[in-house]
Amino acid sequence: MPKRRDGRDLNDLHYAVVVGINRYPGVRDLKYARRDAHGFKKWLLSSDGGRLPTPNVRSIVARPRDESAFRTARQAWPTVRWVNDALEDINLAVTKHVQKDPRCFERTRLYLYASGHGIAPANGSGAVLMADADLQRDALGYNIELSLYQRWYVDCGLFREIVIFADCCRDRFFTAPGMGPPWAACPNPYGPTRFALGFATTFATSAFEPRDVTNLDAARGYYTKALLDGLGGGAADPAGQIDSTNLATYVRLSVQALTETKRFGQRPTMVADPGDPVIFRPPGGPAPARPRRNAVITFPKGYKGRVTLRRGQERTGKSWAARNGSWQLPLEEGLYAVVSQRSADAGLFQNDGLFRVLAKDVDVQL
């Protein structure tokens, strides 16, 4: 297995296609999709992240100066063709490897990350619109319907693992077709495919849920932020493992925390087998750092005592005299309890002194 410059192994049979689209002349431009795609690509290439070789990552992102030339939807790219070409190149590359040495199959993985406008089309659960999609011409069929791609890859068994993340809306669009991959079904899969399919939001199906959320873009970015925080260490279990199961929990909680003050909260979904998860970071090695957030702890009026901070069962070694006012400190994400040193003060704090730090800075009123 090839090594990185820092001596760590590269995941040489992991491949990725990263799509980020800001400019949609036929729909409406976005602000953060390209930045999100760059963020994910950075994680893929990092030695603490995906550890992919640079040539294995195909970034499909138009630069601002390219985009400025897109006057109409028909001029805009990337289109479906760009994505399919990139995927096809990768399919061919991995096929070549596996044909040469079938044992390679176990080490193969494909990431497909897409950030942009999205819809829930007539025949699918979530499709990312390509830059040439056009609302005026009713041409929203220029999309990649991710569940169809996922199904094709699972049926085809080209890769041992498929990971698809889509940071896009899933507004219902009754009339738009969702488009699947253009390749014939593979008659001879190399083996079973494990998968993780993550969407930034749940499919909007219920009358009891908001149906007129026109600007889910405001929520855009929360998903990728949570995803990158989770992959970067936030989702790691005590042994340091990050997999599709604990990542799904982390992302769900984080996005809920980030959007809890919004009128319509956002709830991401991840379809993966908890019994056979995709492992993004194996256990062992130095534990990844968990994200840190600023906490401001405000004490009840008149309370002047001394407190300590616990995290789970652990003493953090941090203490504070309330007479000095609010306690400001950076904390790793997790559950904490502020404990008064005087047992007589038990029950004085709101919520028994318990609070959670997750996804954002926190103000704690005890």
């Binding site: 479906v80 063709r81 399919n84 089309p121 007539a122 025949n123 699918g124 659960s125 069929g141 169809l148 094709w152 219902r172 009754f174 009339t175 077709p177 488009m179 699947g180 991959p181 253009p182 390749w183 014939a184 079904a185 079973p192 749940t202 499919f203 199906t205 219920s206 009358a207 009891f208 149906r211 007129d212 279990d237 005590p238 199961t245 604990n246 929990t249 982390y250 909680l253 809920q256 979904t269 379809v271 087998d273 908890p274 019994g275 056979d276 616990r310 995290r311 789970g312 069962q313 652990e314 994400e333 997790g334 559950l335 904490y336 309890a337 028994d352 318990l354 609070f355 959670r356 997750l358």
Partner: protein
């Protein structure tokens, strides 16, 4: 640490389908359960999440050594289109309206099946008017796509209490619930059809939430009860439990999650279903639950086949079970897929999608020329139910309809087959030469053309993409490279629809 030093968490819910998750101080899930949670954990700080459908409640807990945190009556109200206790959206007066509608069907004489249709303002949408205009947005069509007699006139409407109900005995078999609704305030009203199947000896209750955009039939809840018995959850614990489990399983399906509790399993594996819709929806939940337990699934299907022998959803489930088994045990051969060929779309969208997959994999599943085939390009994903934009059929004539329905239910006078209609249809379809399509591109009304264009357009976009990707000169070569099966999978159309779409697109299109 010895077990005596551990803390214990013991939670139970009377609602089959309430989900529990326990997260430790690092926000790692350390225990979970559906319907119950019994966990021994290290003392410390925890976040407990309780979830029922879309309702989620979180609570931070400090558990000391040896401490027992016990709550055996955890209950969380959740929204439901069906009005019954334990939901956030129910009114007693609307419950009563549903009970009375069901009672009417139970006590009146007439054909051996029945329907209760209730449109209601759920809690939070009280201001939406429910009046005659509301009911005119709904139409019940029979298997020939003709309005059911007296549907317009027999509604009971109570505007003050925010409900309208229509209930009657009807012939068993296939129906369509047509509704006028809007996807959003900015979009135009759209007509959408939804598949219904009334089973012999059963009442089917359809609860449709009323919204400012119209009756939201895509968010409907569908329950069943025996024809001679009143649907009345809350009056006995089993029907209450079944109704609650069904609603939570429906929420799970809406979000693509398996919500299978021991209590749900007990209800599912009980041969005496009081509400067979729970069996159908629960079987879909079992399909979502890894690892797939084929034995358990087959028990449920066996029970369902006994109770609802002709139901297209039950026939489709037998294929979905075979598919799941095939995925779980890669040694199973494709030829072991059951031979089914369904003419009427199943009620659940997942079942319909499965049939289209079967059609691509094994050239069966969707009867050529049937409504199940015709709706494929018009399918609209808007919830768990099979919905489509109306297809225009040339033949609303008796003969045309009879040809269509022959694949989905036994013919009168032939005697009721104990096999599922789907299966008997399969045998006919297998023996018969290719059926003549009932939809014809060029010949009929404008809406006919729109119908055919929908399939052709989808195929055309896909084939163009294949042509570009494979860099071949003509679309014919692109089609040869991809194959009809793959086009079927990619476009979500049955193979016969793909073939006819290609035919309609014509030689000049193929050659370019």
């Amino acid at each position: 640490m010895s077990s005596s030093k551990k803390a214990r968490l013991e939670l139970r819910s009377p609602q089959a389908g309430v989900e529990f998750a326990l997260l430790d101080a690092r926000l790692q899930q350390v225990a979970s359960g559906v319907g119950a949670l019994d966990a021994r954990v290290d003392p410390g700080l925890y976040q407990l999440e309780v979830r029922a459908g879309p309702s989620v409640e979180s609570q931070l807990l400090k558990l000391g050594a040896g401490e027992v945190h016990r709550d055996l009556r955890v209950s969380l109200a959740f929204p439901s289109a069906a009005p019954f206790e334990g939901t956030t959206t129910s009114y007693e007066v609307q419950q009563r309206a549903a009970f009375e509608g069901s009672e009417r069907v139970a006590t009146e004489t007439g054909p051996p099946a029945g329907i209760v249709l209730v449109v209601r303002n759920v809690r939070g949408h009280e201001a939406t008017p429910v009046d005659k205009a509301t009911t005119t947005r709904l139409t019940l069509l029979d298997q020939r796509l003709r309005p059911v007699a007296r549907f317009r006139s027999s509604w009971q409407v109570n505007s003050n209490q925010g409900w309208a109900s229509w209930s009657r005995r009807l012939e068993p078999g296939a129906y369509v619930l047509r509704s006028e609704t809007r996807a959003s305030a900015r979009r135009r009203s759209e007509t959408l059809d939804q598949s219904l199947w009334l089973s012999r000896g059963w009442q089917t209750l359809v609860f449709v939430p009323n919204t400012p955009l119209g009756p939201a039939s895509g968010s409907a809840s569908i329950h069943m009860t025996r024809l001679g018995e009143r649907w009345a959850p809350g009056w006995d614990p089993i029907s209450q439990e079944s109704a609650s489990a069904l609603e939570l399983a429906l929420w799970g399906l809406r979000e693509g999650r398996a919500v299978v509790s021991d209590d749900l399993l007990r209800l599912l594996l009980n041969t005496k279903f009081t509400n067979p819709m729970l069996g159908i929806v629960g079987a879909h939940s079992l399909l979502l639950e890894p690892p797939f337990n084929s034995r358990r699934f087959e028990t449920v299907i066996k029970n369902l086949k006994r109770l609802l022998p002709e139901h297209p959803d039950v026939a489709a489930l037998s294929w979905l079970g075979a598919e799941a088994k095939h995925r779980a045990h890669a040694t199973s051969k494709a030829k072991q897929f059951p031979l089914i060929d369904i003419g009427w779309p199943p009620m659940l969208a997942a079942a319909y999608a499965g049939l289209v997959r079967l059609d691509a994999v094994a050239r069966g599943g969707v009867a050529p020329g049937s409504l199940a085939e015709a709706i494929a390009p018009n399918i609209v994903v808007r919830g768990v139910w099979t919905s489509w934009r109306p297809v225009a059929t040339r033949g609303t004539s008796k003969a045309g309809a009879a040809r269509s329905i022959a694949v989905s239910r036994p013919r009168p006078g032939v005697g009721r087959s104990r096999k599922s209609a789907a299966t008997s249809g399969a045998r006919k379809a297998a023996k018969a030469p290719h059926r003549r399509p009932r939809l014809d591109a060029g010949s009929a009304s404008g809406s006919d053309i729109a119908v055919t264009d929908a399939a052709a357009e989808r195929v055309a976009i896909y084939v163009d993409e294949v042509q570009r990707t494979h860099e071949v000169d003509t679309r014919r070569e692109a089609i040869n490279a991809s194959g009809h099966d793959q086009i079927s999978i990619a476009t979500g159309l049955p193979v016969a629809s793909v073939e006819r779409a290609i035919e309609r697109l014509g030689n000049s299109w193929l050659s370019s």
